[in-house]
Amino acid sequence: MAMNSTGRPTAPAQPLDPGADLQTFSGSRGLAQVEPLLHKVGSPEKCGVDLADVPNHTARLGNLKRQNPVDLPGLSEPEAMRHYVRLSQRNYAIDLGLYPLGSCTMKHNPRLNEKLARLPGFADVHPLQPQSTVQGALALMDELSHWLMAITGMDAVALSPKAGAHGEWCGMMCIRAAIEERGELGKRRRVLVPQSAHGTNPATAAACGFDIDELPADATGRVDMEVLRRKIGPDVAAIMLTNPNTCGLFERDIREIADLVHEAGGYFYCDGANLNAIMGKTRVRDLGVDAMHINLHKTFSTPHGGGGPGAGPVVLSKRLRNYAPVPYLVRDGQSLALVEDEAQSEAKPFGRMSAFHGQMGMFVRALAYMMSHGSDGLRRVSEDAVLNANYLLARLSDEMSPAYPGVCMHEALFDDDFLKDTGVTTLDFAKAMIDEGYHPMTMYFPLVVHGAMLIEPTETESKESLDRFADTLLALAKAAKSGAAARFTEAPLLAPLRRLDETRAARSPVLRWQET
């Protein structure tokens, strides 16, 4: 036989011990590549784009031609690919694993939606082209409106708000306009906001010029009705209520809340951040809502993209539809048109939210998501989201402490009671999850629960995935209770970085790179 003596060994050598402590010369560790800042790897003369020659011309820059060269780092295309791919690998993502951030709704983002958003009739049309040339884009907006109104039962929709908080502001400005038209803006000053509300709610009401009056939660995590009855009065402009609320609970008394506010002459603003738990199971119109924003990036799965862009259309009741901002869509015989100017409007728009018509790219993705599911699928989405959350609630309750008794909606809320006297805080527990390969849940929110941990699995997790997650959290909880505090207080040990010094970042802010 012919022997090949130049081959390489094919079985591993005995492992170096302790391999984990090996310090590398490059700083990278296997697939975990180190990547410096763009401003250290790039240089001004490098370019990854080929540009045509500049034609002869007589410049018309007045005296404003730039005198100093621009200072910017550049990269060739291969260098840019490597820089950003390496950076991407330092991120957690839904496509990597369960992302249980309560109230953020991190569900699967279908790639069909990405593909469709890039069709030229949506992606490559200008907001101010003649309207006769964008009928397809307008038809898409019209279809989206139809779906949103059908799901919520509401009478109109304002599409232009660019994110949830922008939508809140839109809805509250409609309410403000309605109150102003009644001549009551001077006396209706108060907006009731539950203490459990997301911080954007009071910030929005304040931005509209209202005074905030907080509502405490009762022992079941819902609005304290006795306090509400006491606080309601002729000076109340609105209540801003999230439903299901930020504790993951349905506000059982919602109809009575709506009636109380309406009888007092105020409006019911619903924060629709958690619509994903109830669509197809109830319509917000039937709950007495006057205005509600819908986070397309939560309920309808447009990608979060590391913090945006979002989209926050607002559905409105008959009482408020007249005040929707420009631009808005109208049907004119066979064709669709945008009313862009308040002067042309037959209604009473409160103003304009932004330069153009809203987040078209998000509209396409959201509509594709809705049509894929259909009326049967959307109902199933709510059911599975709630089922998944309750399954985790049931399983995790073996070792962790639920904040409230009973079932939940789409997210399960725990407090830090189970960590009492362990020396482990909610933060430590969350950071230990990172070592286990999970993104932490939402922590310390809502504020009404001590050391809150809010877990939202969404409907796109399989039972197997939920079981693995539950097994891991139960094991962590047991470890914390059995005195293994060090693996928590030091965590994460296995992430690209250890805990970061936020005090230093805030005391002496370094907000940009500068040549030293």
Partner: protein, 449 residues
């Protein structure tokens, strides 16, 4: 349903573990009279991937897309060429499907790119610092005005005659609930310098767009001096950031805050959104404290390694609630990333050359149009967009051109309403316009006039 992993066995087992008899037990808190027992009225049931794609493709074809025709629309949104690598990179799962980087140990990808973005924005605007982006240029402008009012503790804001009217309206709407008073000057071309006459000791800021909505370039330096002389701030607005590669940047001209639309870099037209607002300001603690939105900041981890975190968050709504600087929560994450990648592919040389190319091609077209009878170029200076007076109603002419498959620009009346603007047309030229496009526009205009 392809996006839902549970099957009936899973569901039954899970309900059993929860200890309820059926799924409706989990929805028992919904008031009886508000429960929806059947399916939602008026909607079809689920559809396959292929069917959904077919529907959207048909809708897409009902619009005339910019890439298919000679195209000259600007007015705050510009069609530039975006390299294929940009779109590929922003679709990487780790960027696309990540949340806001609240857990910095496993979000350094997003955080470092935000830090790079902030640095690039500061560099091209000539400002000390920049935030991690706003929704778009118009909302950035509105936030800049509110910021200036907080910094100066004054109440009046003057909007220049050359500010994009949609920006102007956005600002007016944004401060409705506040004690800020907006004085919006009547739109006019070449009148921006008169803004200095309106300053007084309650003026928080003046807002000046450059290039302005008519495309005319504005020397901000004397306006900055005039504003500073009475203790007011200059907010410089830019809707076409590519211009910063060729003209003096707002920092050099004395701006205190810059609000800009960053769509031109890395982001398509997308019928108006999503875009990416830029907000930059002086590197002054007083300014930074009052700035809206998020900041990424550099720090170290427990072992001394450099890393990045979201910082100065006490300004934000999570903590300040009703006392927050702004109610904004989301930024434009992925659009920010596209901006950063495209700008890093350009680099200083590419950015400057791209700007010069835009200007040069605009000059070529302006000269050709000016030679036509019935067309007069009104600008004395411009970057890549200019205003022409037509011998006729610009909106009607644009419709006529559209029927010939030429998207010839934006009638000024679309932005300003009718009246004195009926015969004005805004024409924008970028590196994407070919000589053939110019020929088509010239021919079509000659026929229409």
């Amino acid at each position: 349903m392809r996006y839902l992993p549970l099957n009936e066995d899973d569901r039954a087992a899970m309900l059993d573990r929860i200890g309820v008899s059926g799924i409706d037990a989990l929805f028992a808190d919904i008031p009886q009279e508000a429960r929806l027992d059947g399916l939602i009225d008026g909607l079809p049931t689920h559809a396959s991937e292929m069917d959904v794609e077919r529907h959207f493709t048909a809708l897409s074809k009902q619009s005339l897309s910019a890439g298919d025709v000679p195209f000259f629309c600007g007015g705050g949104a510009y069609r530039h060429f975006v390299p294929a690598s940009v779109d590929h990179l922003i679709q990487r799962s780790e960027f696309l499907t990540a949340y806001t980087p609240y857990q910095p140990e496993i979000a350094q990808g997003t955080l470092q790119t935000l830090f790079e973005f902030q640095t690039q924005v500061a560099q091209i605007t000539g400002m000390g610092v920049a935030n991690a982006s706003m929704y778009d240029g118009s909302t950035a402008t509105a936030e800049a005005v509110r910021m200036a009012a907080r910094i100066t503790r004054r109440h009046k804001c003057i909007l220049a005659p050359g500010l994009h009217p949609h920006y102007s309206k956005t600002v007016c709407t944004a401060v409705e609930g506040e004690t800020v008073h907006i004085q919006a000057m009547d739109p006019a071309m070449g009148e921006d310098r008169t803004i200095a006459q309106e300053l007084d000791d309650d003026t928080a800021c003046i807002v000046v767009q450059n290039p302005n909505v008519f495309g005319e370039l504005v020397d901000l330096a004397p306006l900055a001096d005039a504003a500073h002389a009475v203790g007011a701030l200059l907010i410089a607005v830019t809707t076409e950031v590519v211009s910063l590669g060729l003209i003096q940047n707002p920092g050099e001209m004395g701006a205190d805050i810059v609000a800009a639309e960053g769509q031109s870099i890395g982001n398509g037209l997308s019928f108006g959104g999503p875009y990416v607002g830029l907000l930059a300001c002086r590197d002054d603690r007083k300014f930074i404290r009052q700035a809206p939105g998020r900041f990424a900041g550099q720090t170290v981890d427990a072992t001394g390694k450099t890393g990045y975190v979201l910082t100065l968050s006490t300004r934000e709504k999570h903590i300040r609630r009703e006392k927050a600087t702004s109610n904004i929560c989301t930024n434009s994450g992925l659009c920010t990333l596209a901006f950063t990648i495209h700008l890093s592919l350009l680099g200083a040389c590419g950015f400057a050359k791209l700007a010069e190319l835009n200007h040069a091609r605009a000059c070529v077209l302006a000269d050709r149009l000016d030679a036509l009878s019935g067309v007069e170029v009104l600008n004395t200076s411009f970057f890549n967009e200019f205003t022409v007076r037509l011998n006729g109603d610009a909106a009607k002419i644009v419709e006529t051109l559209a029927k010939k498959d030429v998207l010839g620009g934006i009638p000024a009346a679309r932005l300003f309403g009718g009246g004195p603007f009926d015969d004005l047309l805004l024409i924008s030229v970028t590196e994407t316009n070919t000589d053939d496009d110019f020929d088509a526009l010239v021919t079509a205009l000659q026929e229409a006039l």
